[in-house]
């Protein structure tokens, strides 16, 4: 007989996944409570790019995390081996573990995993090294290029730092990847993992990364932050990119209960993912596939449309994509459910965006308040949803989070307060 493995990845549908810890690094606040306070108050973190001189580029705004010093969280040796994107993830991981009051030291390593989302990896680190290559020559490329810029760097470094040997993952779906990472954490919890460091961050504010983003035609070219990222508004004109994100602890419900976790924010209850498979570049104006993702999420959660108390929208900021999302929400949930998009205060964070929205969803449920969508003054014609434009008190038990990614990715996640 073969030796038995430490864990066997046969799915057990009885196992449940809950969120027990959050760590946030966002343009409008470092640390979950600081960010949440700013978000509830409608304070924006978007401004003119300072990471480099953006004067020559048509888009000059971004949500940058001001005052973040990697040395406050991680040792120098690690800082030089990793990109800014990984620095923020390591810092957010530390916060999330503290929030969950969980010390991985001495725990069964095979029952702990790391599953993060990445949009564009360590692109700033990569630009420096490719500049060395083409500007000076191959021998000037540093030894850490091979481990710093690739999309798996963040998951790998977190797993090594905290001694986690369970199934690890890295998922890429541009802006939708964060929800997939959380649901894939649940897939692994069904397969006998107990504790997953999930979510993700992004650092897309480098000259070359911005150049790449400009080719989509979806960035706002406005110079005043209030004019720039205005999803669902009649003056919607694209979006502003941002950096940061959230690390989310997804834990088996039994494990959280057995160890006396300080809080269970929400259960990861249902999920749906679809692809428009419509056009290689254009935003689809058709909400059918996003609507189907929402329907699938409700079905998996085993709840009716009337049980959704609020929606955190993807909020593309591109008129046709906004119309598609509004149509999807209206078709599946009707037009009475409150809809908000707090990412107007930070920009689109790609791999970090959906995890930050999940953080907003669970804290909204905890505190009974929906954060506002800023810059939404007059909804575009035909978008007759209940948009939350001022902080609003609300009893929330179930919140739906939408996320989409360039390339037709649609995702919807149902979270429920215990």
């Amino acid at each position: 007989m073969a030796t038995a493995p430490e864990i066997t990845s046969i799915p057990n549908p009885e196992r449940r996944a809950v969120i027990t810890g959050i760590g946030v690094i966002a343009p409008n606040g470092i640390g979950t409570e600081k960010w949440w306070e700013a978000t509830r108050a409608g304070q924006s973190g978007i401004g003119r790019i300072t990471r480099f001189d953006p004067s020559q580029y048509p888009a000059q705004l971004a949500g940058e995390v001001e005052g973040f010093d990697a040395a406050d969280y991680i040792e120098q040796r690690m800082i030089v081996q990793t990109d800014h994107w990984t620095h923020m993830a390591l810092a957010a991981t530390q916060m999330a573990l503290e929030d969950a009051q969980f010390d991985p030291e001495g725990k069964d390593p095979y029952r702990m995993s790391v599953i993060t989302a990445s949009g564009s990896g360590g692109n700033e680190f990569g630009q420096k090294e490719i500049e060395n290559l083409w500007g000076k020559g191959p021998i000037f490329v540093g030894a850490y290029q091979s481990i710093a810029w690739f999309y798996a760097a963040t998951t790998g470094q977190i797993a090594i730092k905290y001694g986690m040997k369970g199934p690890c993952g890295v998922v890429c779906q541009e802006g939708a990847g964060g929800l997939e990472a959380l649901w894939h954490s649940r897939r692994n919890i069904l397969r006998n993992v107990d504790f997953v460091i999930s979510g993700g961050t992004e650092a897309p504010i480098g000259p070359y990364a911005l150049t790449c983003q400009l080719t989509t035609g979806r960035l706002s070219l406005e110079s005043d932050p209030e004019d720039a990222y205005r999803p669902f508004d009649s003056r919607a004109n694209g979006y502003v990119p941002g950096e940061g994100g959230a690390i989310i602890i997804v834990e088996s419900a039994d494990h959280a209960e057995a160890r006396g976790a300080p809080q269970v924010y929400a259960e990861v209850l249902g999920y749906g993912a679809t692809n428009d498979a419509d056009h290689p570049k254009r935003s689809t104006a058709d909400g059918t596939q996003l609507g189907r993702a929402i329907t699938l999420a409700l079905e998996r959660a085993g709840i009716g449309a009337d049980e959704v108390d609020a929606v955190i929208a993807d909020a593309a900021g591109v008129p046709e994509a906004d119309a598609a999302e509004a149509q999807a929400i209206r078709d599946v949930l009707g037009n009475e459910v409150p809809v908000t998009a707090p990412k107007t205060m930070v920009g689109r964070l790609y791999g970090g965006g959906a995890p930050l929205d999940v953080a907003a969803a669970v804290l909204a449920m905890r505190d009974g308040v929906l954060p506002p969508t800023t810059n939404l003054d007059s909804p575009a014609e035909g978008l007759d949803l209940d948009f939350v434009t001022e902080p609003r008190e609300a009893q929330l038990r179930t919140v739906l989070v939408n996320a989409r990614g360039f390339g037709g990715f649609n995702s919807a996640l149902v979270l429920r307060r215990p």
């Binding site: 091979s146 779906q173 150049t211 692809n275």
Partner: protein, 424 residues
């Protein structure tokens, strides 16, 4: 429990750019490693690679697809078309809402990213690059998710689509992801696999300073030497493979040719080092044991092991130890081979190409060899199937992978019980 049948196989690899040419290459023991021709490798430590002579038009891609798709996306689309055709699926007839795409890649669109970078930076001279010189599809190169979105678009697949990027285990993990979607009822058909085309200056330069790649530049045909005493690193390759996975009962019901099924899949982290491996192989052994336990597979059931066998000193030792740890004495009796000896190491793509090799080994009863195996290494003392393919009935094949980030993956493909011939 829902099971995953493999019903279609498509491959783009060095030495032959479709399934049959690939099978011919790896069973004949021919090596496709050569001096790099894609760029002038002068000044690089490692100047050799296994390049694929791929013609996208011949593979059926149209001019617009070729223009907007990076090479690794073209490979995957070509492999996916071959796999879907092989499976006998009519994309107009299948339920495309229940058709998923799960593909792996470690370095994504680096070729286009580098090509455009050279222009916008004017040969590395400008940090503040000139965006006006960027090509219109450059963003698709920045985000590796393009691999999944383009394949989904090609077939109109409206199910879940994802790119898995776990370094050099991305290929096994991409297929494993698809298997889990079928198990969990999230999809009925999955276009799964991986693709990588990393033979570009920046990718080659990554591995030079850490001495991961071979510098047997004067003898490229014999440079990839897994498990051989004189191995000195891996040889970069490129390639893609796609397996069509289908929910087992529905594949049976439509009378599909079933190559094999996914009997088990697992991945682990070694929680040790981004690039280094501990010699004991403990975490890879755990992944193997998990995959075996899922399928109820005993060491005696495994007829072939397709090794990661990258040809680095550390890897081949680590992997040999992992096999002994997981399989005990049986490890000495199972034929093992590394097809990287012939087609190089295509990073995130290779795991899927190796799963394709396993599916074909089961289907055709042949174990491909490890080429260039000449001198035994006392630390690698198993049967590596040196230089010549072996005829052998293969009912279960194990494949393993190791990746930067400390990832260890294992997958077992097996002939389904109901399709096994009754012995006397």
């Amino acid at each position: 429990m829902r099971r995953s049948a493999v019903t279609g196989v498509g491959v783009v690899a060095p030495g032959g750019v479709n399934r049959e040419a690939f099978w011919d290459t790896i069973t004949s023991g021919r090596t496709a490693t050569r001096k790099i021709t894609f760029f002038d490798p002068e000044g690089f430590r490692s100047q050799i690679a296994a390049e694929a002579d791929f013609d996208p038009h011949a593979a059926g891609l149209d001019d617009q697809e070729i223009n907007r798709m990076d090479r690794y996306v073209q490979f995957a689309v070509a492999a996916a078309m071959e796999a879907v055709t092989d499976a006998g699926l009519d994309v107009e007839q299948i339920d495309r809402d229940r058709t998923a795409v799960t593909l792996g890649s470690a370095v994504g669109g680096t070729m286009v990213l580098e090509r455009d970078y050279v222009v916008v930076s004017n040969h590395g001279q400008k940090w503040l690059v000139d965006h006006e010189y960027a090509s219109p599809f450059l963003y698709q190169a920045l985000v590796p998710s393009t691999l999944a979105s383009e394949v989904a678009l090609k077939f109109g697949a409206h199910g879940p689509s994802v790119v898995v990027s776990t370094g050099c285990t991305s290929g096994i993990d991409g297929i494993g992801y698809g298997h889990q979607l079928i198990q969990d009822g999230e999809a009925d058909i999955v276009i799964s696999g991986a693709s990588e085309t990393g033979i570009s200056p920046i990718s080659m330069a990554c591995f030079d300073p850490i001495k991961a790649t071979s510098r047997r530049n004067d003898d490229p045909a014999h440079a990839s030497r897994p498990f051989d005493r004189d191995r000195d690193g891996f040889v970069m390759g490129e390639g893609s493979a796609v397996l069509v996975l289908e929910e087992f009962e529905s594949a049976q019901a439509r009378g599909a040719h079933i190559y094999c099924e996914v009997a088990g899949y697992a991945n682990r982290g070694n929680a040790y080092h981004m690039t280094g491996l501990r010699p004991d192989g403990a975490e890879m052994a755990e992944a193997i044991l998990d995959a075996m336990a899922q399928g109820g597979i005993e060491p005696e059931d495994i007829d072939y092991i397709n090794a990661h066998g990258s040809g680095t000193k550390q890897n081949d030792r680590h992997e040999t130890a992992a096999y002994k740890r997981a399989l005990g004495d049986q490890a000495y009796k199972i034929p093992i081979s590394s097809i990287k000896s012939m087609i190089g190491h295509s990073l995130g793509g290779i795991g899927a190409v190796e799963m394709a090799a396993c599916a074909l080994a089961i289907d055709r009863g042949v174990v491909p060899p490890t080429a260039n195996w000449e001198n035994p290494d006392p630390e690698c003392d198993l049967d590596y199937t040196p230089n010549e393919a072996k005829r052998k009935q293969v009912d279960a094949a194990l494949s393993t992978g190791s990746g930067f980030g400390g990832f260890q993956s294992a997958m077992i493909l097996a002939r389904p019980q109901e399709l096994q011939e009754v012995g006397i």
